[in-house]
């Protein structure tokens, strides 16, 4: 069956009334989660994972994708009006959008963010439609050695490249891998680190770790260190873009999409880099640079917002075709698939074609819903910011309880949740990244299985990883990712000292 008829079938599934309701609720929850500080899409999806035990796979994946998407739209609202970015991806929006809001152009900033998100999201979805099946066809040819190397690449980028300190990134990664070790070994069935507790044979629930690290830790951190009234909020002007705003925005949207999309597809994790790159590009190509960082340039909001959304959408490509998550939320979506006994990967497009295409179709529908939810109804969401901080964080704890208790009905998990929350506070206070923990925990067992399968292919020889061209190439990429940034840093440091010497 060709691509378009499959996509049409996907639309037929996604547009059934019940799935439309799931999509809408997902988008609305996602927008709310994006607007509210202290809670992001990863933790929202994690808290709602218990529904995977009752709701069918297609509906819940549509729902979760709606949350993932919606949070990107909602996040920009808070960044612009409050200057508190909910996620790293909206840091730039917080910078430039808040400047616009200060000079009374909040409405235009919100509009260009919402329309830009829609344009980028839709273009990226078209690209996912076109390229995901192609990549899946190619990925079928990959064997265990290549998969193992891809996962090593994901580990390396998420822990060593992103973040400020390689050491702290590595600590987080290996802690995640250690958590992933708990439970039954996938290949031999050997129980590891279960301390005789039967519940631990299935391993530690991803909900527990994600909700503990993100939600409970956030609440505990707030009460410990962030007492005091919230920042002042900028008033909302009419959400409207002038003709000039449109003319300035659309090239920035397209450039942002072009920058963001590739970053989402590679296992380089996060939308931090593409949004920064997009901002730098907009600043470079702008004729009038005086607005950037002063009164706020609309391109500086339009570009990064588009880049953020394109990157977010593009993370679905490695997730669906390779089973490799490149962001926190994608990692938890992978956990959701696993709850259904579905392992994302190249076979997904043949074994669960209905689900995949319905999911992709729902992205088109969700983008339209989100545009409507976020443009005319933005005033409604802004009201959420009036919730007093104590009620917000304490309310998050109620939802955390639902998510964790609903998954396994164990009160002991609630104690563990508190302990993980404490660890999260320490990590936040001492600047340890959290994404490597989640990625390590979810990908660790998969990577171990692929490694051991690869070694049995090579009859126990480690050379199997360098004898196959694809695997050797990936190994070289991993090495380059580890070594190049260091060399470049050293090089630029020595050249700048040389310059300084020359100058003095």
């Amino acid at each position: 069956m060709d691509l378009w008829s499959q996509l049409l079938l996907g639309f037929a599934t996604a547009a059934t009334p019940i799935n439309l309701v799931w999509c809408f609720v997902g988008c609305a929850v996602g927008t709310a989660v994006g607007v509210l500080p202290g809670i992001g899409p990863a933790v929202a999806v994690a808290m709602l994972l218990p529904i995977t035990t009752k709701v069918d796979a297609t509906a819940s994946m549509i729902f979760f994708a709606g949350i993932y998407y919606g949070a990107m739209y909602g996040g920009s609202t808070t960044s612009i009006l409050l200057n508190t970015p909910g996620e790293t991806g909206s840091m730039i929006t917080a910078m430039e959008g808040n400047k616009m809001a200060k000079s009374g152009r909040a409405g235009a900033a919100l509009a260009t963010a919402a329309v830009g998100s829609f344009v980028a999201g839709t273009i990226a979805t078209v690209l996912v439609t076109l390229f995901a099946p192609l990549l899946a066809n190619f990925a079928v040819k990959l064997g265990p050695p290549e998969y193992f190397m891809l996962m090593v690449l994901a580990f390396t980028t998420v822990s060593a490249v992103l973040g400020r300190s390689t050491l702290r990134g590595m600590v987080a990664l290996f802690v995640g891998l250690a958590v992933g070790l708990i439970g039954m070994d996938q290949i031999s069935g050997q129980a590891r680190f279960t301390a005789g507790v039967p519940e631990l044979l299935d391993g530690i629930e991803i909900v527990l770790v994600a909700v503990g690290l993100f939600a409970v830790a956030e609440a505990l951190y707030a009460v410990l260190y962030e007492g005091g009234p919230l920042q002042t909020q900028h008033t909302l002007s009419r959400v409207h873009m002038s003709k000039l705003d449109w003319r300035r925005s659309w090239p920035a949207w397209l450039r942002g999409t072009a920058i963001g999309f590739p970053f989402g597809t590679i296992p380089a994790g996060g939308s931090e880099i593409p949004t920064f790159l997009s901002y730098a590009t907009e600043k470079k190509v702008a004729k009038d640079k005086s607005e950037f960082g002063t009164s706020g340039a609309i391109e500086g909001v339009a570009g990064p917002e588009a880049a953020n959304n394109a990157a977010t959408t593009a993370t679905l490509i490695p997730l669906l075709t390779l089973g490799i998550p490149t962001s926190n939320t994608a990692a938890i979506l992978l956990g959701a698939f696993q709850n259904y006994g579905i392992q994302p990967g190249p076979q997904l497009f043949t074994t669960s074609a209905d689900l995949v295409w319905a999911l992709i179709a729902s992205l088109y529908i969700g983008n339209v819903m989100l545009l409507i939810l976020n443009l005319p109804m933005v005033g409604l969401w802004v009201k959420l910011l009036k919730i007093p901080k104590p009620y917000l964080y304490a309310g998050i704890l109620i939802f955390a309880t639902v998510g964790v208790y609903g998954m396994r009905q164990s009160a002991f998990d609630l104690v563990l949740l508190y302990v993980i929350g404490l660890i999260g506070v320490v990590m936040r206070r001492y600047d340890f990244p959290t994404a490597p923990v989640v990625v390590g925990m979810i990908l660790g067992p998969l990577a171990e299985a692929q490694m051991r399968n690869a070694l049995s292919m090579g009859e126990g020889s480690w050379l199997v990883f360098v004898e196959r061209p694809m695997s050797a190439t990936l190994l070289a990429v991993v090495m380059a990712v580890l070594v190049l940034p260091r060399v470049m840093r050293r090089f630029s440091a020595s050249s700048s000292t040389a310059k300084r010497r020359k100058a003095s």
């Binding site: 218990p50 050491l167 250690a178 290949i187 171990e448 070694l455």
Partner: protein, 175 residues
């Protein structure tokens, strides 16, 4: 110079904690079979790798902590010192929730957790003595009711709409 959140004491403790975890993992790895069939490595291989890596990481963390503190640290947000009374209230809420959820049910247990956490957060906000708290009892009763107003619909949505088990005070699925 001691930076915010950069006191060498806690930083060293984190490193020691990592070393302890590494020790547990390596001790476990020693006990796992190395039988591997065709693959050359058995179920003890990854535990060894993770254990040794954490050992090295732990040593490096301790070394960094003892030689001027962690490198390239982002200043943590918020105040320099933790507000522990507020932390105590929220911790009490979370642990009470864990202890009571199976006996008094989801709604009541979560409302209690909510009220205790709100109390901690509110104290944290007024920390510095701007406004004295008046009518604490009335306020707490109101917080419990607000907690119930959030917990009850969530509970009904899960038990009635999604048929997911959450503990109740009764077996009706309503409370």
């Amino acid at each position: 110079m001691i930076r915010r959140g950069g006191a060498p004491g806690p930083q060293t403790l984190i490193g020691i904690g990592l070393l302890a975890v590494a020790g547990v993992i390596i001790a476990g790895a020693v006990g796992f079979p190395s039988s591997s069939g065709y693959s050359g490595v058995g179920p003890n291989f990854l535990p060894w790798v993770v254990g040794c890596a954490l050992l090295v990481c732990g040593l490096l963390v301790v070394w960094q902590a003892r030689t001027g503190g962690y490198r390239h640290m982002e200043e943590p947000s918020g105040s320099d010192h933790g507000y522990w009374p507020g932390f105590g209230w929220m911790s009490a809420g979370l642990l009470a929730n864990a202890a009571l959820i199976t006996t008094i049910g989801f709604i009541l247990s979560c409302s209690l957790c909510f009220a205790l956490a709100v109390r901690g957060l509110r104290h944290a906000d007024r920390h510095g003595g701007v406004v004295p708290l008046r009518g604490e009892l009335a306020q707490t009763v109101r917080d419990v009711l607000i907690g119930m107003a959030i917990a009850a619909p969530v509970y009904w949505m899960f038990t009635k709409l999604l048929a997911i088990n959450l503990p109740g005070l009764t077996n009706t699925g309503w409370i």
